[in-house]
Symmetry: C2
Subunit: 193 residues, 2 copies
C-alpha cells in the first residue's frame, strides 16, 4: 500500500474508533464493536495500532492536535463555544471532541498509569493556548497586568469545568454569556478615561 493509502486507512480507523469510544466508553468499546465501527477486521486495525490502549491514545492525541489547531487560529474560548454548540450526543451523532475528552478525564481520575502516559500528550493544548495568548498580547488585544501562564491556567480551568458540566448532564443553554465573560476577562480592559 502507498503512504496515501496507509494514511487514509489510519484516518478511517481513528474516525470509527472515535464514534465507538464516545458511544460505549473505553471499557465498552470491545474489539468486535471497533470492527463494526471502522468497517475493518481486527487484523487490519491492530496492524496500525498495537492495542486498544495505543489506539485510544492516538485518538486522544489526534483530537488534542485538532483542538490545538482551533486554539492557534481562534483561541481556547472558541473551542469551548464549539463544545456548547455541538449537537446533543446520541447514537447517530456521538459527541466528537467531548466524547474523547470525557473519557480522558475519567481515565485520568481512575487510572494513575494513564496519567503518566497522557501527560506528555496534553502539552500541545497548553502550548497552543499560551502561544495564542502571546500573539494576542503582542497585537495589543490582551490585558497586560496578568501573567500569560495565569491566563492560560484560567482558560484551561474553565474548559475543564465546562467538560465536567456537560458530562454531568447539567443544562448548558445559559452558558454563552458566561463564555463572553471569560473571554472579556483575559482581554485588554476598556478604559473609561
Amino acid at each position: 500500500m502507498s503512504q496515501d493509502h496507509l494514511d487514509a486507512r489510519r484516518r478511517q480507523i481513528l474516525d470509527g474508533a472515535r464514534a465507538c469510544f464516545a458511544r460505549y466508553g473505553y471499557e465498552g468499546a470491545t474489539v468486535r464493536r471497533l470492527e463494526e465501527a471502522t468497517g475493518l477486521s481486527r487484523g487490519a486495525i491492530f496492524h496500525h495500532f498495537r492495542d486498544k490502549e495505543s489506539l485510544f491514545l492516538a485518538l486522544a492525541e489526534d483530537d488534542a492536535l485538532r483542538m490545538a489547531d482551533v486554539v492557534a487560529r481562534q483561541g481556547l474560548v472558541q473551542v469551548m463555544r464549539d463544545l456548547l454548540s455541538a449537537p446533543e450526543p446520541d447514537a447517530d451523532h456521538p459527541a466528537d471532541w467531548l466524547g474523547t475528552r470525557l473519557e480522558v478525564s475519567r481515565r485520568l481520575r481512575t487510572d494513575p498509569e494513564f496519567r503518566g502516559r497522557w501527560a506528555e500528550r496534553s502539552r500541545q493544548l497548553t502550548d497552543a493556548t499560551r502561544q495564542r495568548l502571546v500573539r494576542q498580547r503582542e497585537a495589543g488585544n490582551l490585558r497586560d497586568d496578568v501573567d500569560i501562564d495565569v491566563l492560560t491556567s484560567f482558560l484551561e480551568l474553565v474548559l475543564e469545568g465546562l467538560v465536567s458540566h456537560l458530562a454531568m448532564g447539567l443544562p448548558a443553554d445559559d452558558l454563552e454569556p458566561v463564555l463572553d465573560l471569560v473571554e472579556e476577562s483575559v482581554r485588554r480592559h476598556r478604559r473609561s478615561g
Copy 2:
C-alpha cells in the same frame, strides 16, 4: 435519648461516614467499613438513616449547607481557596468537602437516577452564591454590567473545573493567582479616569 443526644449521634455518623466515603468511594464504603469509621453498629447507623444512599445524600446535603454558609459570609471564591489549601488527602486526612463533592460529581456522571435526587439538594449552593452576589452588588463591590445569574454560573463553572482538576491529580500549586483573576473578574472594574 434526648434531642441533643440524637443530634450528637447523627453528627457522629455523618463525620465518620464522610471520612469513609472520601477514602473508599461510594461503592467501596461497605456497611462494615461504615461501622468502623463511625464506631457504631449498623443497627445504630440505620436507625438514623434509612440506607446507605440516604446517608450519602444527607452527607452531601450537610456539606452543601456548610459550603453555602461559607459562601454567604465569604463568597464562592473563598470556598475554592479552601479547596486549594486543603491538605493532600491520605488515610489520616481524607479530603473533607472535596471527597464528598468528587463522589457527587462522579455519581452525577454515571447514575441518571442520582441526578434527579441531587437536583433539589444542589440549589442551596447556587442560591447562596446568588444572594451573596446580590448583596455585593448593593454594597457597590460588584461589576454592574453583567447579570447576576451569569456571574453565578461563571463562579460555579470555575468551581467545577477546580474540583475536576484536583480529582485528576493535576498540580494545583499555581492556581492561587488564577482564583485572584476569577475574583477580580466579578468585581467592579477599577476606573482609570
